[in-house]
Amino acid sequence: MLAVKSAVDATATHKPLVSVVKVQKTYFARQAPVQAVASASLDVARGEFVSLLGPSGCGKSTLLMMIAGLEQPTGGSILLSGDEIKKPRRDIGVIFQDATLLPWKSAIENVLFPVRILKLPIEAYRQRAQELLHMVGLSGFEHKKPAQLSGGMRQRVSICRALIHDPDILLMDEPFSALDAITRDQMNVALSEILETYKKTVIFVTHSIREAAFLSDRVLVMGGRPSTITLDMKMPFQRPRRFEIEETAEFAKVCRKLRLTIEEAHNSPPPAQNPAVETRAGTIGGGPQ
Protein backbone atom coordinates (compact mmCIF):
# COMPACT_ATOMS: atom_id res chain seq x y z
CA MET A 1 0.00 0.00 0.00
CA LEU A 2 1.08 3.51 -0.69
CA ALA A 3 -0.36 4.82 2.55
CA VAL A 4 2.49 6.16 4.62
CA LYS A 5 2.28 5.34 8.28
CA SER A 6 2.53 8.43 10.38
CA ALA A 7 6.00 9.58 11.28
CA VAL A 8 4.66 10.76 14.60
CA ASP A 9 4.28 7.17 15.81
CA ALA A 10 7.99 6.96 16.38
CA THR A 11 8.30 10.27 18.19
CA ALA A 12 5.02 10.70 20.06
CA THR A 13 5.14 9.58 23.66
CA HIS A 14 1.38 9.04 23.94
CA LYS A 15 -1.35 7.58 21.81
CA PRO A 16 -2.65 9.56 18.84
CA LEU A 17 -5.86 11.54 19.37
CA VAL A 18 -7.21 10.75 15.90
CA SER A 19 -6.39 7.54 14.07
CA VAL A 20 -7.47 6.92 10.52
CA VAL A 21 -6.90 3.27 9.66
CA LYS A 22 -7.01 2.09 6.04
CA VAL A 23 -10.06 4.16 5.31
CA GLN A 24 -11.66 3.93 1.91
CA LYS A 25 -14.67 5.61 0.39
CA THR A 26 -16.49 4.50 -2.72
CA TYR A 27 -19.54 6.32 -3.99
CA PHE A 28 -21.99 4.03 -5.67
CA ALA A 29 -23.09 6.23 -8.50
CA ARG A 30 -25.59 5.06 -11.08
CA GLN A 31 -23.14 4.31 -13.89
CA ALA A 32 -20.14 2.95 -12.01
CA PRO A 33 -18.79 3.09 -8.49
CA VAL A 34 -16.52 6.07 -7.95
CA GLN A 35 -13.66 5.58 -5.56
CA ALA A 36 -12.89 8.83 -3.78
CA VAL A 37 -10.37 7.47 -1.28
CA ALA A 38 -8.52 4.21 -1.99
CA SER A 39 -6.87 3.69 1.34
CA ALA A 40 -5.77 6.34 3.76
CA SER A 41 -4.08 5.91 7.10
CA LEU A 42 -2.91 8.68 9.37
CA ASP A 43 -2.47 9.55 13.02
CA VAL A 44 -2.83 12.95 14.58
CA ALA A 45 -1.44 13.67 18.04
CA ARG A 46 -3.16 15.97 20.52
CA GLY A 47 -2.32 19.59 19.81
CA GLU A 48 -0.96 18.85 16.38
CA PHE A 49 -1.77 20.84 13.23
CA VAL A 50 -1.93 18.49 10.27
CA SER A 51 -2.71 19.52 6.71
CA LEU A 52 -4.12 17.33 3.99
CA LEU A 53 -2.70 18.76 0.79
CA GLY A 54 -3.64 17.74 -2.70
CA PRO A 55 -5.19 18.78 -5.98
CA SER A 56 -8.95 19.17 -6.40
CA GLY A 57 -10.73 15.85 -6.55
CA CYS A 58 -8.10 13.89 -4.64
CA GLY A 59 -10.55 12.92 -1.91
CA LYS A 60 -9.07 15.05 0.87
CA SER A 61 -12.37 16.78 1.66
CA THR A 62 -14.14 13.41 1.59
CA LEU A 63 -11.62 12.10 4.10
CA LEU A 64 -12.16 15.14 6.32
CA MET A 65 -15.97 14.75 6.17
CA MET A 66 -15.55 11.13 7.26
CA ILE A 67 -13.43 12.25 10.23
CA ALA A 68 -16.21 14.76 11.02
CA GLY A 69 -18.70 11.87 11.05
CA LEU A 70 -20.67 13.52 8.25
CA GLU A 71 -19.88 10.71 5.84
CA GLN A 72 -19.38 7.01 6.44
CA PRO A 73 -16.26 5.21 5.18
CA THR A 74 -16.92 2.15 3.03
CA GLY A 75 -13.89 0.47 4.55
CA GLY A 76 -11.46 0.90 7.42
CA SER A 77 -12.12 2.84 10.59
CA ILE A 78 -11.63 6.26 12.14
CA LEU A 79 -10.89 6.43 15.85
CA LEU A 80 -10.99 9.32 18.27
CA SER A 81 -9.14 8.40 21.48
CA GLY A 82 -9.87 4.78 20.61
CA ASP A 83 -13.61 5.24 19.95
CA GLU A 84 -14.87 4.84 16.43
CA ILE A 85 -16.34 8.00 14.90
CA LYS A 86 -19.67 7.00 13.38
CA LYS A 87 -21.62 10.24 13.55
CA PRO A 88 -20.93 13.92 14.26
CA ARG A 89 -19.69 14.65 17.77
CA ARG A 90 -19.77 17.80 19.83
CA ASP A 91 -16.05 17.64 20.59
CA ILE A 92 -15.28 18.09 16.90
CA GLY A 93 -15.72 21.54 15.36
CA VAL A 94 -15.99 21.86 11.58
CA ILE A 95 -15.22 24.92 9.47
CA PHE A 96 -16.33 24.78 5.86
CA GLN A 97 -15.20 26.56 2.72
CA ASP A 98 -18.18 28.88 2.95
CA ALA A 99 -18.79 30.69 6.21
CA THR A 100 -22.45 29.45 6.18
CA LEU A 101 -23.74 32.04 8.63
CA LEU A 102 -27.42 32.58 9.34
CA PRO A 103 -28.09 35.75 7.31
CA TRP A 104 -30.70 37.06 9.74
CA LYS A 105 -28.51 36.72 12.84
CA SER A 106 -25.84 39.17 13.97
CA ALA A 107 -22.19 38.14 14.09
CA ILE A 108 -22.30 37.41 17.81
CA GLU A 109 -25.56 35.47 17.53
CA ASN A 110 -23.98 33.39 14.78
CA VAL A 111 -21.00 32.71 17.05
CA LEU A 112 -23.44 31.62 19.77
CA PHE A 113 -25.36 29.32 17.40
CA PRO A 114 -23.61 26.10 18.56
CA VAL A 115 -24.30 27.10 22.17
CA ARG A 116 -28.02 27.17 21.38
CA ILE A 117 -27.91 23.90 19.46
CA LEU A 118 -25.97 22.17 22.24
CA LYS A 119 -28.36 23.69 24.83
CA LEU A 120 -25.55 25.28 26.84
CA PRO A 121 -26.24 28.40 28.95
CA ILE A 122 -26.16 31.30 26.47
CA GLU A 123 -25.33 34.05 28.93
CA ALA A 124 -22.32 32.16 30.23
CA TYR A 125 -20.92 32.04 26.70
CA ARG A 126 -21.65 35.60 25.64
CA GLN A 127 -18.47 36.88 27.23
CA ARG A 128 -16.43 34.20 25.45
CA ALA A 129 -18.08 35.07 22.15
CA GLN A 130 -17.04 38.71 22.65
CA GLU A 131 -13.48 37.63 23.41
CA LEU A 132 -13.30 35.42 20.35
CA LEU A 133 -14.60 38.17 18.08
CA HIS A 134 -12.09 40.56 19.64
CA MET A 135 -9.33 38.02 19.05
CA VAL A 136 -10.07 37.88 15.31
CA GLY A 137 -10.29 41.67 15.08
CA LEU A 138 -14.07 41.95 14.88
CA SER A 139 -14.69 44.13 17.95
CA GLY A 140 -17.39 46.60 17.06
CA PHE A 141 -18.88 44.27 14.45
CA GLU A 142 -20.72 42.05 16.96
CA HIS A 143 -24.15 43.30 15.95
CA LYS A 144 -23.58 43.49 12.22
CA LYS A 145 -25.31 40.96 10.04
CA PRO A 146 -23.35 38.77 7.60
CA ALA A 147 -24.46 40.83 4.58
CA GLN A 148 -22.56 43.80 6.03
CA LEU A 149 -19.32 41.87 6.56
CA SER A 150 -16.64 41.10 3.98
CA GLY A 151 -15.85 37.51 2.98
CA GLY A 152 -12.82 37.42 5.27
CA MET A 153 -14.82 38.81 8.18
CA ARG A 154 -17.56 36.23 7.65
CA GLN A 155 -15.03 33.41 7.67
CA ARG A 156 -13.55 34.81 10.89
CA VAL A 157 -17.02 34.74 12.43
CA SER A 158 -17.33 31.10 11.40
CA ILE A 159 -13.96 30.33 13.05
CA CYS A 160 -15.21 31.94 16.27
CA ARG A 161 -18.37 29.86 15.96
CA ALA A 162 -16.30 26.68 15.68
CA LEU A 163 -14.31 27.65 18.79
CA ILE A 164 -17.19 28.83 21.01
CA HIS A 165 -18.04 25.49 22.62
CA ASP A 166 -14.34 24.63 22.91
CA PRO A 167 -14.17 21.41 20.88
CA ASP A 168 -10.91 19.44 21.14
CA ILE A 169 -10.57 19.04 17.42
CA LEU A 170 -11.01 21.52 14.58
CA LEU A 171 -11.60 20.21 11.10
CA MET A 172 -11.13 22.86 8.44
CA ASP A 173 -12.21 22.19 4.87
CA GLU A 174 -10.43 24.67 2.59
CA PRO A 175 -11.64 27.49 4.82
CA PHE A 176 -9.83 30.27 2.99
CA SER A 177 -10.03 29.11 -0.61
CA ALA A 178 -12.97 31.40 -1.40
CA LEU A 179 -10.99 34.45 -0.26
CA ASP A 180 -8.67 36.67 -2.28
CA ALA A 181 -4.92 36.12 -1.95
CA ILE A 182 -4.25 39.10 0.32
CA THR A 183 -7.09 38.27 2.70
CA ARG A 184 -6.01 34.67 2.65
CA ASP A 185 -2.49 35.55 3.84
CA GLN A 186 -3.97 37.66 6.62
CA MET A 187 -6.26 34.81 7.62
CA ASN A 188 -3.33 32.41 7.81
CA VAL A 189 -1.52 34.69 10.24
CA ALA A 190 -4.73 35.27 12.20
CA LEU A 191 -5.40 31.52 12.43
CA SER A 192 -1.93 30.71 13.73
CA GLU A 193 -2.33 33.46 16.32
CA ILE A 194 -5.72 32.11 17.38
CA LEU A 195 -4.24 28.64 17.79
CA GLU A 196 -1.46 29.99 19.97
CA THR A 197 -4.15 31.23 22.35
CA TYR A 198 -6.67 28.41 22.00
CA LYS A 199 -4.63 25.24 21.66
CA LYS A 200 -6.45 22.83 19.37
CA THR A 201 -5.83 19.71 17.37
CA VAL A 202 -6.39 20.72 13.77
CA ILE A 203 -6.84 18.81 10.55
CA PHE A 204 -6.74 21.29 7.72
CA VAL A 205 -7.63 20.55 4.10
CA THR A 206 -6.12 22.79 1.45
CA HIS A 207 -4.82 22.82 -2.09
CA SER A 208 -2.41 25.66 -1.34
CA ILE A 209 1.15 24.44 -0.79
CA ARG A 210 2.27 27.66 0.92
CA GLU A 211 -0.74 27.70 3.20
CA ALA A 212 -0.14 24.10 4.27
CA ALA A 213 3.58 24.72 4.86
CA PHE A 214 2.98 27.94 6.80
CA LEU A 215 0.29 26.61 9.14
CA SER A 216 1.15 22.98 9.75
CA ASP A 217 3.26 20.88 12.04
CA ARG A 218 2.92 18.11 9.50
CA VAL A 219 1.73 18.03 5.89
CA LEU A 220 0.21 14.93 4.34
CA VAL A 221 0.11 14.95 0.56
CA MET A 222 -2.87 13.18 -0.96
CA GLY A 223 -2.95 12.14 -4.55
CA GLY A 224 -2.72 9.33 -7.03
CA ARG A 225 -5.54 7.56 -8.73
CA PRO A 226 -7.26 6.21 -6.72
CA SER A 227 -5.96 8.48 -4.04
CA THR A 228 -3.85 7.65 -1.05
CA ILE A 229 -1.50 9.58 1.19
CA THR A 230 1.77 9.77 -0.68
CA LEU A 231 3.89 11.86 1.66
CA ASP A 232 3.99 12.63 5.37
CA MET A 233 6.34 15.53 6.05
CA LYS A 234 7.16 17.47 9.21
CA MET A 235 7.43 21.22 8.82
CA PRO A 236 10.76 22.34 10.28
CA PHE A 237 9.66 25.87 11.30
CA GLN A 238 9.61 27.31 14.80
CA ARG A 239 6.44 28.64 16.42
CA PRO A 240 5.11 31.24 16.77
CA ARG A 241 5.29 31.69 13.04
CA ARG A 242 5.34 35.04 11.41
CA PHE A 243 4.95 35.84 7.78
CA GLU A 244 8.72 36.27 7.32
CA ILE A 245 9.30 32.52 7.31
CA GLU A 246 7.77 32.39 3.85
CA GLU A 247 10.81 34.29 2.56
CA THR A 248 13.39 31.82 3.88
CA ALA A 249 15.25 29.37 1.68
CA GLU A 250 14.10 26.52 3.90
CA PHE A 251 10.45 27.41 3.26
CA ALA A 252 11.09 27.43 -0.49
CA LYS A 253 12.78 24.05 -0.23
CA VAL A 254 9.86 22.54 1.69
CA CYS A 255 7.36 23.92 -0.81
CA ARG A 256 9.40 22.55 -3.68
CA LYS A 257 9.45 19.08 -2.15
CA LEU A 258 5.67 19.21 -1.60
CA ARG A 259 5.06 20.40 -5.14
CA LEU A 260 7.20 17.64 -6.64
CA THR A 261 5.34 15.02 -4.63
CA ILE A 262 1.99 16.33 -5.80
CA GLU A 263 3.11 16.34 -9.43
CA GLU A 264 4.58 12.89 -9.12
CA ALA A 265 1.32 11.50 -7.80
CA HIS A 266 -0.60 13.37 -10.45
CA ASN A 267 1.50 11.97 -13.28
CA SER A 268 1.63 8.43 -11.95
CA PRO A 269 0.47 5.74 -14.39
CA PRO A 270 -3.14 4.53 -14.19
CA PRO A 271 -3.88 1.95 -11.48
CA ALA A 272 -3.88 -1.07 -13.80
CA GLN A 273 -0.17 -0.64 -14.51
CA ASN A 274 0.75 0.39 -11.00
CA PRO A 275 1.45 -2.71 -8.91
CA ALA A 276 1.56 -0.69 -5.69
CA VAL A 277 -2.08 0.29 -5.96
CA GLU A 278 -4.95 -2.10 -5.45
CA THR A 279 -7.22 -2.27 -8.42
CA ARG A 280 -10.96 -2.77 -8.34
CA ALA A 281 -13.51 -3.21 -11.04
CA GLY A 282 -14.89 0.12 -12.15
CA THR A 283 -12.42 2.12 -10.10
CA ILE A 284 -12.02 5.69 -11.11
CA GLY A 285 -9.54 7.94 -9.43
CA GLY A 286 -10.70 11.12 -7.77
CA GLY A 287 -14.29 11.70 -6.93
CA PRO A 288 -16.67 14.16 -5.44
CA GLN A 289 -14.98 16.52 -3.04
Binding site: P88, I92, L102, W104, I117, L118, K145, Q148
Partner: protein, 281 residues
Protein backbone atom coordinates in the same frame (compact mmCIF):
# COMPACT_ATOMS: atom_id res chain seq x y z
CA UNK B 1 -55.42 31.04 -12.19
CA UNK B 2 -53.31 30.76 -9.12
CA UNK B 3 -50.16 30.06 -11.04
CA UNK B 4 -50.64 33.05 -13.31
CA UNK B 5 -51.28 35.14 -10.23
CA UNK B 6 -48.10 33.80 -8.68
CA UNK B 7 -46.11 34.62 -11.77
CA UNK B 8 -47.58 38.03 -12.25
CA UNK B 9 -47.11 38.93 -8.59
CA UNK B 10 -43.47 37.98 -8.83
CA UNK B 11 -43.00 39.97 -12.00
CA UNK B 12 -44.77 42.92 -10.49
CA UNK B 13 -42.53 43.12 -7.44
CA UNK B 14 -39.46 42.70 -9.59
CA UNK B 15 -40.32 45.50 -11.96
CA UNK B 16 -41.41 47.57 -9.00
CA UNK B 17 -38.05 47.07 -7.38
CA UNK B 18 -36.19 47.99 -10.56
CA UNK B 19 -38.18 51.17 -11.00
CA UNK B 20 -37.81 52.08 -7.34
CA UNK B 21 -33.99 51.98 -7.37
CA UNK B 22 -32.94 55.58 -6.74
CA UNK B 23 -29.77 57.18 -8.10
CA UNK B 24 -29.57 59.88 -5.45
CA UNK B 25 -31.59 60.92 -2.42
CA UNK B 26 -33.08 63.90 -4.24
CA UNK B 27 -34.09 61.68 -7.08
CA UNK B 28 -35.37 59.17 -4.52
CA UNK B 29 -37.65 61.86 -3.06
CA UNK B 30 -38.96 62.71 -6.49
CA UNK B 31 -39.46 59.03 -7.32
CA UNK B 32 -41.32 58.60 -4.03
CA UNK B 33 -43.57 61.54 -4.83
CA UNK B 34 -44.11 60.32 -8.35
CA UNK B 35 -44.94 56.80 -7.23
CA UNK B 36 -47.81 58.14 -5.10
CA UNK B 37 -48.89 61.03 -7.32
CA UNK B 38 -49.06 59.09 -10.58
CA UNK B 39 -51.45 56.29 -9.58
CA UNK B 40 -53.61 58.64 -7.50
CA UNK B 41 -53.75 61.13 -10.36
CA UNK B 42 -54.71 58.47 -12.84
CA UNK B 43 -57.44 57.15 -10.53
CA UNK B 44 -58.78 60.69 -10.06
CA UNK B 45 -58.87 61.25 -13.82
CA UNK B 46 -60.71 57.96 -14.41
CA UNK B 47 -63.26 58.75 -11.66
CA UNK B 48 -63.78 62.28 -13.00
CA UNK B 49 -64.21 60.89 -16.52
CA UNK B 50 -66.71 58.34 -15.23
CA UNK B 51 -68.66 61.03 -13.36
CA UNK B 52 -68.64 63.29 -16.41
CA UNK B 53 -69.70 60.53 -18.81
CA UNK B 54 -72.58 59.44 -16.57
CA UNK B 55 -73.80 63.02 -16.05
CA UNK B 56 -73.40 64.26 -19.61
CA UNK B 57 -74.45 61.00 -21.27
CA UNK B 58 -77.55 60.63 -19.09
CA UNK B 59 -76.64 57.05 -18.29
CA UNK B 60 -79.39 55.46 -16.16
CA UNK B 61 -78.23 54.58 -12.62
CA UNK B 62 -79.27 50.95 -13.20
CA UNK B 63 -76.59 50.61 -15.88
CA UNK B 64 -73.88 52.68 -14.22
CA UNK B 65 -74.34 54.89 -11.15
CA UNK B 66 -71.97 57.83 -10.83
CA UNK B 67 -69.04 57.72 -8.40
CA UNK B 68 -70.57 60.55 -6.38
CA UNK B 69 -73.86 58.71 -5.91
CA UNK B 70 -72.01 55.55 -4.87
CA UNK B 71 -69.97 57.56 -2.37
CA UNK B 72 -73.16 59.16 -1.08
CA UNK B 73 -74.78 55.78 -0.60
CA UNK B 74 -71.74 54.48 1.29
CA UNK B 75 -71.79 57.47 3.63
CA UNK B 76 -75.55 57.33 4.22
CA UNK B 77 -76.00 53.57 4.58
CA UNK B 78 -72.66 52.61 6.11
CA UNK B 79 -74.56 50.68 8.82
CA UNK B 80 -76.04 48.23 6.31
CA UNK B 81 -72.76 47.89 4.47
CA UNK B 82 -70.86 47.30 7.71
CA UNK B 83 -73.40 44.69 8.80
CA UNK B 84 -72.69 42.75 5.61
CA UNK B 85 -68.94 43.44 5.61
CA UNK B 86 -68.39 41.80 9.00
CA UNK B 87 -69.35 38.19 8.11
CA UNK B 88 -67.52 38.38 4.77
CA UNK B 89 -64.34 39.65 6.42
CA UNK B 90 -64.47 37.19 9.31
CA UNK B 91 -65.15 34.21 7.04
CA UNK B 92 -62.36 35.28 4.69
CA UNK B 93 -59.97 35.63 7.60
CA UNK B 94 -60.97 32.22 8.97
CA UNK B 95 -60.57 30.61 5.54
CA UNK B 96 -57.20 32.28 5.11
CA UNK B 97 -55.87 31.18 8.51
CA UNK B 98 -56.97 27.59 7.94
CA UNK B 99 -55.57 27.63 4.39
CA UNK B 100 -52.23 28.86 5.74
CA UNK B 101 -52.10 26.22 8.47
CA UNK B 102 -53.09 23.48 6.03
CA UNK B 103 -50.64 24.75 3.40
CA UNK B 104 -47.69 24.92 5.79
CA UNK B 105 -48.55 21.53 7.29
CA UNK B 106 -48.67 19.92 3.83
CA UNK B 107 -45.38 21.62 2.92
CA UNK B 108 -43.75 20.17 6.04
CA UNK B 109 -45.00 16.69 5.13
CA UNK B 110 -43.81 17.10 1.55
CA UNK B 111 -40.40 18.31 2.75
CA UNK B 112 -39.76 15.60 5.30
CA UNK B 113 -41.33 12.51 3.72
CA UNK B 114 -40.12 11.37 0.35
CA UNK B 115 -43.06 8.99 0.00
CA UNK B 116 -45.52 11.77 0.79
CA UNK B 117 -43.76 14.07 -1.66
CA UNK B 118 -43.95 11.57 -4.48
CA UNK B 119 -47.55 10.67 -3.70
CA UNK B 120 -48.84 14.16 -2.95
CA UNK B 121 -47.09 16.57 -5.23
CA UNK B 122 -48.34 15.36 -8.64
CA UNK B 123 -51.85 15.10 -7.21
CA UNK B 124 -51.69 18.63 -5.82
CA UNK B 125 -50.68 19.99 -9.19
CA UNK B 126 -53.40 17.97 -10.92
CA UNK B 127 -55.87 19.18 -8.32
CA UNK B 128 -54.89 22.70 -9.24
CA UNK B 129 -56.02 22.11 -12.83
CA UNK B 130 -59.64 21.61 -11.70
CA UNK B 131 -61.67 24.77 -12.26
CA UNK B 132 -62.37 24.95 -8.56
CA UNK B 133 -65.16 27.47 -8.78
CA UNK B 134 -67.23 24.78 -10.49
CA UNK B 135 -67.10 22.80 -7.24
CA UNK B 136 -68.60 25.56 -5.09
CA UNK B 137 -72.20 24.24 -5.22
CA UNK B 138 -70.97 20.84 -4.03
CA UNK B 139 -69.66 22.41 -0.85
CA UNK B 140 -73.19 23.55 -0.09
CA UNK B 141 -74.40 19.98 -0.53
CA UNK B 142 -71.64 18.63 1.67
CA UNK B 143 -71.55 21.23 4.41
CA UNK B 144 -74.90 22.99 4.28
CA UNK B 145 -75.68 26.66 3.89
CA UNK B 146 -73.88 27.89 7.00
CA UNK B 147 -70.58 29.70 7.11
CA UNK B 148 -68.66 26.42 7.39
CA UNK B 149 -69.29 25.64 3.71
CA UNK B 150 -68.05 29.10 2.64
CA UNK B 151 -64.98 28.86 4.88
CA UNK B 152 -64.24 25.35 3.60
CA UNK B 153 -64.52 26.56 0.02
CA UNK B 154 -62.22 29.50 0.79
CA UNK B 155 -59.65 27.10 2.25
CA UNK B 156 -60.10 24.85 -0.77
CA UNK B 157 -59.11 27.53 -3.27
CA UNK B 158 -56.57 29.39 -1.09
CA UNK B 159 -54.27 26.71 0.34
CA UNK B 160 -52.50 25.77 -2.88
CA UNK B 161 -50.18 28.80 -3.24
CA UNK B 162 -49.17 28.39 0.42
CA UNK B 163 -48.16 24.76 -0.14
CA UNK B 164 -46.18 25.55 -3.27
CA UNK B 165 -44.30 28.56 -1.95
CA UNK B 166 -43.67 27.10 1.51
CA UNK B 167 -42.28 23.90 -0.01
CA UNK B 168 -40.01 26.03 -2.20
CA UNK B 169 -39.01 27.98 0.91
CA UNK B 170 -38.09 24.87 2.90
CA UNK B 171 -36.06 23.64 -0.07
CA UNK B 172 -34.28 27.00 -0.42
CA UNK B 173 -32.22 26.39 2.72
CA UNK B 174 -28.48 26.54 2.16
CA UNK B 175 -27.15 22.96 1.99
CA UNK B 176 -23.99 24.05 3.76
CA UNK B 177 -26.08 25.32 6.65
CA UNK B 178 -27.78 21.92 6.98
CA UNK B 179 -24.38 20.22 6.95
CA UNK B 180 -23.16 22.57 9.66
CA UNK B 181 -26.20 21.75 11.78
CA UNK B 182 -25.54 18.04 11.38
CA UNK B 183 -21.89 18.57 12.34
CA UNK B 184 -23.17 20.30 15.49
CA UNK B 185 -25.36 17.26 16.27
CA UNK B 186 -28.53 19.35 15.88
CA UNK B 187 -31.85 17.50 15.98
CA UNK B 188 -34.30 17.71 13.06
CA UNK B 189 -36.55 19.85 15.24
CA UNK B 190 -33.69 22.27 16.02
CA UNK B 191 -32.80 22.48 12.33
CA UNK B 192 -36.43 23.18 11.49
CA UNK B 193 -36.97 25.90 14.08
CA UNK B 194 -33.61 27.62 13.83
CA UNK B 195 -32.80 27.29 10.14
CA UNK B 196 -35.46 25.89 7.81
CA UNK B 197 -38.50 27.78 9.03
CA UNK B 198 -36.84 31.22 9.30
CA UNK B 199 -35.26 30.77 5.87
CA UNK B 200 -38.68 29.90 4.42
CA UNK B 201 -40.51 32.87 5.96
CA UNK B 202 -40.29 35.19 2.94
CA UNK B 203 -41.67 32.37 0.77
CA UNK B 204 -44.44 31.61 3.26
CA UNK B 205 -45.51 35.24 3.32
CA UNK B 206 -45.60 35.51 -0.45
CA UNK B 207 -47.86 32.45 -0.49
CA UNK B 208 -50.01 33.97 2.24
CA UNK B 209 -50.43 37.22 0.30
CA UNK B 210 -51.89 35.29 -2.62
CA UNK B 211 -53.94 33.10 -0.28
CA UNK B 212 -55.67 36.04 1.37
CA UNK B 213 -57.00 37.38 -1.94
CA UNK B 214 -58.11 33.88 -2.97
CA UNK B 215 -59.84 33.32 0.38
CA UNK B 216 -61.92 36.47 -0.16
CA UNK B 217 -62.87 35.27 -3.64
CA UNK B 218 -63.88 31.92 -2.14
CA UNK B 219 -66.15 33.49 0.45
CA UNK B 220 -67.79 35.83 -2.07
CA UNK B 221 -68.55 32.93 -4.40
CA UNK B 222 -70.02 31.03 -1.45
CA UNK B 223 -72.15 34.02 -0.61
CA UNK B 224 -73.33 34.28 -4.22
CA UNK B 225 -74.65 30.76 -3.99
CA UNK B 226 -76.14 30.78 -0.54
CA UNK B 227 -76.10 33.29 2.27
CA UNK B 228 -78.40 35.49 4.30
CA UNK B 229 -75.74 38.08 4.89
CA UNK B 230 -72.35 39.20 3.54
CA UNK B 231 -71.19 41.47 0.80
CA UNK B 232 -71.53 38.74 -1.84
CA UNK B 233 -75.12 38.23 -0.75
CA UNK B 234 -75.70 42.01 -0.87
CA UNK B 235 -74.27 42.24 -4.39
CA UNK B 236 -76.49 39.40 -5.69
CA UNK B 237 -79.55 40.71 -3.81
CA UNK B 238 -79.13 44.29 -5.07
CA UNK B 239 -78.37 43.24 -8.62
CA UNK B 240 -81.52 41.11 -8.68
CA UNK B 241 -83.47 44.21 -7.70
CA UNK B 242 -81.64 46.25 -10.32
CA UNK B 243 -80.21 48.36 -7.50
CA UNK B 244 -76.79 48.83 -9.10
CA UNK B 245 -75.84 51.60 -6.71
CA UNK B 246 -75.93 49.19 -3.73
CA UNK B 247 -73.98 46.58 -5.70
CA UNK B 248 -71.29 49.10 -6.50
CA UNK B 249 -71.17 50.35 -2.93
CA UNK B 250 -70.80 46.76 -1.71
CA UNK B 251 -67.95 46.21 -4.16
CA UNK B 252 -66.17 49.31 -2.89
CA UNK B 253 -66.53 48.11 0.70
CA UNK B 254 -65.30 44.68 -0.38
CA UNK B 255 -62.16 46.32 -1.79
CA UNK B 256 -61.60 48.07 1.52
CA UNK B 257 -62.03 44.80 3.45
CA UNK B 258 -59.62 43.07 1.07
CA UNK B 259 -57.06 45.83 1.54
CA UNK B 260 -57.45 45.59 5.29
CA UNK B 261 -56.83 41.83 5.34
CA UNK B 262 -53.93 42.10 2.91
CA UNK B 263 -52.52 44.90 5.05
CA UNK B 264 -52.63 42.66 8.12
CA UNK B 265 -50.62 39.99 6.30
CA UNK B 266 -48.12 42.61 5.12
CA UNK B 267 -47.90 43.89 8.69
CA UNK B 268 -47.16 40.37 9.91
CA UNK B 269 -44.48 40.11 7.27
CA UNK B 270 -42.75 43.31 8.32
CA UNK B 271 -42.95 42.15 11.95
CA UNK B 272 -41.25 38.87 10.98
CA UNK B 273 -38.67 40.87 9.04
CA UNK B 274 -37.63 42.59 12.23
CA UNK B 275 -36.22 39.26 13.37
CA UNK B 276 -35.48 37.41 10.16
CA UNK B 277 -34.18 39.97 7.73
CA UNK B 278 -30.64 39.92 6.35
CA UNK B 279 -30.54 43.71 6.60
CA UNK B 280 -29.43 45.44 9.73
CA UNK B 281 -32.15 47.22 11.67
Amino acid sequence: MTSTRLASTGMGTETGAIIAVPASSREAGLTGLRSTALPLGLAAIVLAGWQLAVTLGNVPAVILPSPISIAKYIVERYDILLMHAVPTTLESAAGFVLATLLGVALAIIITYSEIAREALYPNLVFFQLIPKIALAPLFIIWLGIGSQSRIAFAVFIAFFPVVISTTAGFASVDKGMLRLCRALTASEWQIFTSVRFPAALPYIFSGMKIAITLAIIGVIIGEFITAQAGLGYLIIFATARADTEISMAAIVVLCVCGLLLYGLVALGESFANRFYSADNQ
